[in-house]
Structures are given as structure tokens and as C-alpha cells.
């Protein structure tokens, strides 16, 4: 789980997840374009690629080849582990 917290600690990586949550299955080029146009993130393509590697290691992003292009998908499963540990719904007061 430590990987998940580290992955979420970075604003750019959170924005990448926001973009993939909005539309899944994006190439590196699309993610870079979206970050630049929607969030004014000026990071290099190499930097975004490294951010995606961190997210992938944490299990938050999965990749899949479609034809010759590598696409990225958001996987919320590690976030569910967090809410299982600390449930977000409170029990009704007796």
C-alpha cells in the first residue's frame, strides 16, 4: 500500500488520474496534451512517462496495447483498499 500513498502524494499524478477517470484508455501523447491544455502542466513528456510508471507500479494505472499504440487505464482497486481500511461512511448514531 505504501506505493499507493506515494503515487497519490504528487499533484501531477493526481491530475493524470483525473484525466483518465474522465476518459479512459489514453496514449502518452493524449495525456500530455490534456495536462497542458486543461491544467497548464508544462512537464516534459519524459517526466509524464515517469509519473505513469509510478502510477502503474502502484496499481493505479494499467496499460494495454491496442494495435501498435500503448494506452493507459485507471484502476481504482487500490483506492478501494484505502476505504476498506478507513471506511468513508460513518455508522448511524444509536
Amino acid at each position: 500500500m505504501a506505493d499507493v500513498y506515494r503515487a497519490l502524494a504528487d499533484e501531477t499524478r493526481r491530475l493524470i488520474l483525473d484525466e483518465l477517470a474522465t476518459r479512459d484508455g489514453q496514449s502518452l501523447f493524449e495525456i500530455c496534451t490534456a495536462l497542458t491544455m486543461h491544467h497548464r502542466v508544462g512537464s516534459t513528456r519524459q517526466a509524464i512517462s515517469q509519473h505513469l510508471s509510478v502510477l502503474e507500479e502502484a496499481g493505479l494505472v494499467a496499460t494495454e496495447r491496442r494495435g501498435r499504440t500503448k494506452l493507459h487505464f485507471f484502476d481504482p482497486e487500490p483506492l478501494e483498499a484505502i476505504t476498506r481500511r478507513w471506511p468513508t461512511t460513518r455508522k448511524e448514531a444509536p
Binding site: 496514449s27 501523447f29 496534451t33 490534456a34 491544455m37 494495435g67 500503448k70
Partner: protein
């Protein structure tokens, strides 16, 4: 200074000519035999005197690793302007063209990316009025 000609590398010049004219709608401009290959260019019918696109043979050994790396990351080799990306998306998918990116609003423009079947990804763009 003006842009007279730019190029995309294509696996097969004849197949590329067919795709770029029959499917995309460009017009053949030059087709000059040069041994094994040809000096093969197309232009937009909207601007016959405008920039030419050279359909350049992809035989050089540097082309494959270069293009494979671009396509893996979804990076287009060229960008073409259209009046309405969504309409072109409908027309081209109807003609069997595969898009790696559906029409997407990026704020100042709408873009989409398709596979040109000759080894490249091509981006379509419609810029929004007043945004540039």
C-alpha cells in the same frame, strides 16, 4: 519563407496514394518515377497551390524504430486541419479508418488521431473561433 512541402514516411507508396486520395480526399500532385520509388506528392483540393505532402518511402533503417516509438506513445506524424473533426470522424470510421483518439475537446480546439494504414498516426484538428 513559406512551407512548400512536408513529408510522411509510408510503407508502400501505391497503397499510401490510394489511402491519401480515395479515403482522405487529397489530390495527386506529382508522381515522378525515380527508379524503385517515385516523387509522389498530394495536395488538398481546397488549396491546389498550397503545401504538398510527400509520401516518402520508409525504407531507411532509421525510420522503423523512430516511427514505432512515436506510434507507441500515440504521437502523430502530421496534423491536418478540417472544418469539423466530429464529422470527419464519422465519415472516416464509416470508411474503415481506425482512430486511436476519438474527437476530444482540448479547450482551444477539437482533435482526433487516426492510423493512416501506412505506418503513421495523423491528427485532425478544428480550432475554435476566437481562440487563436
Amino acid at each position: 519563407m513559406r512551407i512548400e512541402l512536408t513529408s510522411v514516411y509510408v510503407d508502400d507508396q501505391r497503397a499510401a496514394l490510394e489511402f491519401y486520395t480515395e479515403v482522405l480526399g487529397f489530390s495527386k500532385h506529382h508522381d515522378i518515377p525515380l527508379g524503385e520509388h517515385s516523387w509522389l506528392t498530394v495536395v488538398s483540393p481546397d488549396a491546389p497551390g498550397g503545401p504538398q505532402l510527400l509520401l516518402e518511402p520508409a525504407g531507411h533503417p532509421a525510420v522503423k524504430p523512430y516511427r514505432d516509438a512515436l506510434v507507441e506513445d500515440g504521437i502523430p506524424s502530421a496534423q491536418f486541419a478540417v472544418d469539423d473533426v466530429a464529422a470527419e470522424y464519422e465519415r472516416l470510421t464509416g470508411n474503415g479508418v481506425t482512430f486511436t483518439q476519438p474527437p476530444t475537446d482540448i479547450g482551444t480546439a477539437v482533435v482526433a488521431v487516426f492510423d493512416d494504414t501506412c505506418g503513421n498516426l495523423i491528427q485532425l484538428i478544428t480550432e475554435k473561433p476566437g481562440m487563436v
